[in-house]
C-alpha cells in the first residue's frame, strides 16, 4: 500500500510540476499577476509530494518490503539500518528520486529566499525549474519507476552493492546531487534573464549566491567521493580520471569559471553573454554527468542501469535543454552590447584568462571522456583514454590558472600598471621558486613536476599572505581586530578558497612525488621494514559482520621501536551476492597516512599484504575544506541581500514611473 501511495504522490508531483512550468511562464509573458502568483504554491506543493514519495520509498527499504522491486534488488533484511536508508539512492531509480527531491528543495529555497526579486522574473525562474522537474519526473514515471512491484515478492533481498556500504557513500551522492541540481538554479536565472531581456549587474548579483552555494555542494561532493575511493577501493589512489569522476568534475570546472565570470558581470557589467553561456554549459554538463553515470554507457561502480531506453530519454532531455537554451541565446544575445571596457592589464584580463583556460580544460576532459564512447557507438573500435592523457593536459593548462589566480587580486579593475604589479609580486615569485627547488631537494625528488607543484603551492601561500597583509595595511591606525572585521565576508571567501588551492597542490605534489608502495606475502609473525616503519603481521582471524563474513588481519606498525598503530584490514565476502570486498585500514596523520590492505590468501596459507605510505595526502582534502569554507563565506556576504533589496526597490520605482 505504501509504495502505491508513493507512486500516486509522484504522479501528483508531476501534475504540479506541469502547472509550475506552464502557468507562471504564461503569466509572466502576459503580465498577469495572479497567474505568476501560482509559481510559489505550485513549487511548494510539488516539494510536499516528492518528499512524501521519497519517504514512502525509504519506508519500504527500512521495513524490508521485498515485494518492491527496488528494495529487493538493493537491500537485505540483515543490512544495517543506515545502509537501508542510503540504499534508497544506491541505484538508478532511487537516485533519480533523490535528484528530483534536491531540485524541489532548491526550488523551494528560491521561493523562500528570493522574495525581493521582481515578480515576473521570479515567475520565470520558477517556471524554468518546473520544466526541468517535469523532465525528470516524467523520466521516472515512464522508464524508471522506483515503485515497481515484484510479484510475487522475493523472500529475501539481494543487498546493496558492498562498495556502497560505507559512511562516505552516505553523504557523497546527496552532496553531489545538491551541487549538480544547484546549477539548474543558475541556469534558470540565466534563462529567465534571457526571456526578460534583462541581463545586467542586478541579475548577476541575484544569481551569484545561488551559484556559489551549488559550487560549494559540488566541491564537497567531489572531495567526499575522492576520499571514499581512496579508502574504499583499496588501491590507495585518490583520483582515477574515471568517466564517473570526470562526469562530476566537468560541471565543477565550468561552474568555477561561472562563479568568476559572474563576479565580473556583477562588478563591471562585462562578460554578460559569456556568463549566460557558462550557466547553460554548467547545467548541461550536470545533466550529461547524470546521463553518463545513470544510463550505463560506461562501466563503473556507479553504472547500475543497463537499459538503453533510459539513456535515450536523458539524451533527448539533454538535447532539448541545450538546443532550446542555445536558440534562445542566439535570439536574445545580439541585444547584449556594451559592458565595462577594460585595459590589457586589469583584473578583468586575469579573470578572462582563467575563464578561457577553465573552458578549454572542461572541453579536453569532455573529449577524453566521450571520444571512446563515440568510437564504440559507431563501431570504429574500442579505445580507452587513461590518466596519462588527462595529466598531460591538466597540468600545463592549470599552471597558468594558478599564476593568474594570484595576480588577479593584486590588480585593480579596469586598468592597472603591469610594472607595478610585477614589482609587488616579484619577491613572492622569487621566494616560491627558491622554496620549490629547496623542498624538492630536501625530499630528494627533483623532477620538473615536483618542482613546479611545490613552486606553485609556495606561490599561492606566499602571495595569499602578502595579499592579506596588504589588505590589513589599508586602514592603518585602527586596531588589528577592527581592521580584520572591516574585511567583507566575500573577500575572506575568495582568500580562503584560493589559499585552499595552495594546500591542495601541496598534497597532490607530495603524494605524487614520494609516496611508496610495497606488496609482499606475509604469515603470522613476519616483519618487514617499510618507509621507515616496522610492520609486523599478527595473523588473520574470522570476524563476521551483520551481512558479511570477513577475514581480519592485524598488523602492528612501529617506528624506532615505538608502537604507532595497530591496523586491521579486512577481506569481506558479502553473503547475499557472494561478492568479495577489500576493506583497507589506515593510520591517518597530518603529514602522512599509513595504508594497509589485505590481498588474497595463497594456497600455502600466507597472505598478500599491500602497504602504502602516503605523505601529505590529507592536505588534498584539507584544501577542499578551505575551498568549501571560502564558498560558504562568499555566499553569506551581507551585501547580496542589501544590494538586491535596493535594486528591487529601484526596479519597482522604474516600473511605477
Amino acid at each position: 500500500m505504501i509504495p502505491e501511495l508513493g507512486h500516486f504522490a509522484l504522479v501528483m508531483a508531476f501534475a504540479l510540476a506541469l502547472v509550475q512550468a506552464v502557468v507562471p511562464m504564461v503569466g509572466a509573458a502576459r503580465n498577469n499577476p495572479s497567474m505568476m502568483a501560482v509559481a510559489r504554491p505550485a513549487a511548494q506543493g510539488q516539494f510536499f509530494f516528492i518528499i512524501f514519495a521519497y519517504g514512502c520509498l525509504t519506508w519500504a527499504f527500512i521495513t524490508s518490503d521485498f515485494s518492491l522491486q527496488l528494495a529487493a534488488s538493493n537491500s537485505h533484511s540483515d543490512t544495517p539500518l543506515m545502509y537501508k536508508i542510503t540504499g534508497v539512492w544506491g541505484n538508478h531509480e532511487g537516485s533519480l528520486l533523490l535528484w528530483s527531491l534536491s531540485l524541489s528543495l532548491w526550488t523551494v529555497a528560491v521561493t523562500v529566499f528570493s522574495r525581493h526579486l521582481p515578480e515576473a522574473f521570479m515567475a520565470r525562474v520558477i517556471g524554468v525549474l518546473g520544466w526541468v522537474s517535469l523532465g525528470f519526473i516524467a523520466f521516472m514515471l515512464v522508464t524508471s519507476n522506483p515503485f515497481d512491484r515484484l510479484l510475487p515478492g522475493a523472500p529475501e533481498g539481494r543487498d546493496l552493492n558492498p562498495l556502497l556500504q560505507d559512511p562516505g557513500m552516505i553523504i557523497h551522492p546527496p552532496l553531489l546531487y545538491m551541487g549538480y541540481v544547484g546549477f539548474s538554479v543558475a541556469f534558470a536565472f540565466a534563462i529567465a534573464a534571457l526571456l526578460t531581456g534583462r541581463l545586467d549587474a542586478a541579475w548577476a548579483r541575484w544569481s551569484r549566491p545561488w551559484t556559489t552555494v551549488a559550487w560549494v555542494f559540488l566541491t564537497a561532493g567531489i572531495a567526499v567521493g575522492s576520499a571514499w575511493a581512496y579508502y574504499e577501493l583499496g588501491w590507495g589512489g585518490w583520483w582515477f580520471w574515471d568517466p564517473v569522476e570526470n562526469a562530476s568534475f566537468m560541471p565543477w570546472l565550468l561552474g568555477t569559471a561561472l562563479i568568476h565570470s559572474l563576479a565580473v558581470t556583477e562588478k563591471r557589467g562585462a562578460f554578460r553573454s559569456w556568463t549566460v553561456l557558462l550557466a547553460i554549459g554548467a547545467f548541461s554538463l550536470s545533466l550529461l554527468g547524470t546521463f553518463l553515470v545513470r544510463s550505463g554507457v560506461i562501466t563503473s561502480v556507479h553504472a547500475f542501469a543497463t537499459d538503453p531506453a533510459r539513456g535515450m530519454f536523458i539524451l533527448a532531455l539533454l538535447v532539448v535543454v541545450i538546443g532550446v537554451s542555445l536558440l534562445l541565446y542566439a535570439w536574445r544575445a545580439p541585444k547584449l552590447t556594451g559592458g565595462g571596457s577594460f585595459g590589457l592589464v586589469s583584473r578583468e584580463t586575469t579573470l578572462l584568462g582563467n575563464n578561457v583556460l577553465f573552458a578549454v580544460v572542461s572541453a579536453s576532459v569532455l573529449m577524453g571522456t566521450l571520444y571512446p564512447l563515440f568510437l564504440d557507438a559507431l563501431n570504429l573500435g574500442k579505445i580507452s583514454v587513461g590518466p596519462p592523457y588527462f595529466e598531460a593536459v591538466f597540468v600545463p593548462l592549470m599552471t597558468p590558472v594558478v599564476v593568474l589566480m594570484m595576480f588577479g587580486p593584486f590588480l585593480r579593475w579596469k586598468d592597472d600598471d603591469f610594472g607595478a604589479a610585477v614589482r609587488k609580486l616579484a619577491p613572492a615569485a622569487v621566494a616560491s621558486v627558491v622554496s620549490g627547488f629547496g623542498i624538492a631537494l630536501a625530499i630528494d625528488h627533483v623532477t620538473w613536476r615536483t618542482v613546479l607543484g611545490l613552486t606553485l603551492a609556495a606561490w599561492v601561500v606566499l602571495a595569499s599572505l602578502q595579499l592579506l597583509a596588504g589588505r590589513l595595511r589599508e586602514r592603518a591606525g585602527a586596531s588589528v581586530s577592527s581592521r580584520l572585521s572591516m574585511i567583507p565576508a566575500a573577500w575572506w571567501g575568495m582568500w580562503l578558497a584560493h589559499f585552499g588551492i595552495g594546500i591542495f597542490i601541496i598534497g597532490v605534489t607530495m603524494v605524487g612525488s614520494i609516496d611508496s608502495n610495497l606488496d609482499l606475502r606475509m604469515k603470522d609473525g613476519d616483519q618487514t621494514e617499510f618507509a621507515g616503519y616496522t610492520v609486523r603481521f599478527r595473523g588473520v582471524v574470522d570476524a563476521p559482520g551483520p551481512n558479511y563474513d570477513a577475514s581480519r588481519a592485524t598488523l602492528e606498525v612501529s617506528r624506532d621501536g615505538k608502537p604507532i598503530a595497530t591496523l586491521q584490514p579486512e577481506k569481506r565476502v558479502y553473503r547475499a551476492m557472494g561478492m568479495p570486498m577489500t576493506e583497507a585500514a589506515l593510520d591517518i596523520g597530518v603529514f602522512r597516512d599509513v595504508y594497509v590492505s589485505l590481498g588474497e590468501q595463497l594456497p600455502e596459507g600466507d597472505w598478500i599484504v599491500s602497504l602504502h605510505h602516503k605523505p601529505f595526502i590529507s592536505w588534498i582534502w584539507a584544501g577542499c575544506i578551505f575551498m568549501v569554507l571560502g564558498g560558504i563565506l562568499a555566499a553569506a556576504d551581507r551585501r547580496y541581500r542589501r544590494l538586491a533589496e535596493r535594486t528591487a526597490a529601484a526596479g519597482a520605482l522604474q516600473q511605477a514611473t
Partner: protein, 148 residues
C-alpha cells in the same frame, strides 16, 4: 596604446592561447590513446609491439599460476578462440577469477607473452567488462562464419 590596438592585442593573445591549448590537448590525446584488441587480433599480428594496449576476454580455466614470491601471477586470457599468456605482478582485483571476464592493459613482449601493468575485472557479480564481452562475441561470430 590606442584602445583599438589594445583590443587587438587582447583578442590576438586570447586566440594564441587557445590555439596553443588546443594543440597541446590534441597531441596529448594522440600520444595517450590506449587501443583494445581481442586475443584473436593479437595473434593475427594486428596489435602494436612495444606500445601499451588492452586485451580482454575470459580468464582461462586452470590457467592461474603463482610464482614463488606469491606476487607474480601468470594466467591466460581467451576469447574462446585464441589464448594469450599474461604475466602480472601486484594485487589482483577482488573479482578476478578463472572463467570470468577480465581486461588487462600492458605490452606484448617478443616471446608472445603479455606483460600486464593493470588488471581490471568485473565490477560486480553479474557484470562483464564490455571489452571482455566484445572479444568473446567477436570470436564466436568469426567461429560461426568459419563453420558455415
Amino acid at each position: 596604446m590606442k584602445p583599438r590596438s589594445k583590443r587587438l592585442m587582447l583578442v590576438g593573445g586570447g586566440v594564441g592561447l587557445l590555439v596553443a591549448a588546443v594543440a597541446l590537448v590534441l597531441s596529448a590525446f594522440q600520444q595517450n590513446l590506449v587501443f583494445f584488441h581481442t586475443p584473436t587480433e593479437v595473434l593475427e599480428g594486428k596489435a602494436p609491439t612495444g606500445k601499451t594496449f588492452r586485451i580482454g576476454g575470459l580468464v582461462e580455466d586452470g590457467s592461474i599460476q603463482r610464482e614463488a614470491d606469491g606476487l607474480t601471477v601468470r594466467f591466460a586470457i581467451t576469447d574462446t578462440a585464441k589464448v594469450i599468456p599474461v604475466s602480472y605482478r601486484g594485487t589482483l582485483p577482488d573479482l578476478f577469477k578463472e572463467g570470468k571476464g577480465a581486461v588487462v592493459q600492458g605490452t606484448l613482449s617478443p616471446d608472445g607473452q603479455f606483460r600486464a601493468t593493470e588488471v581490471l575485472a568485473k565490477h560486480d557479480e553479474n557484470y562483464m567488462p564490455p571489452e571482455a564481452a566484445h572479444a568473446v562475441e567477436q570470436a564466436q561470430k568469426a567461429g560461426a562464419t568459419v563453420s558455415q
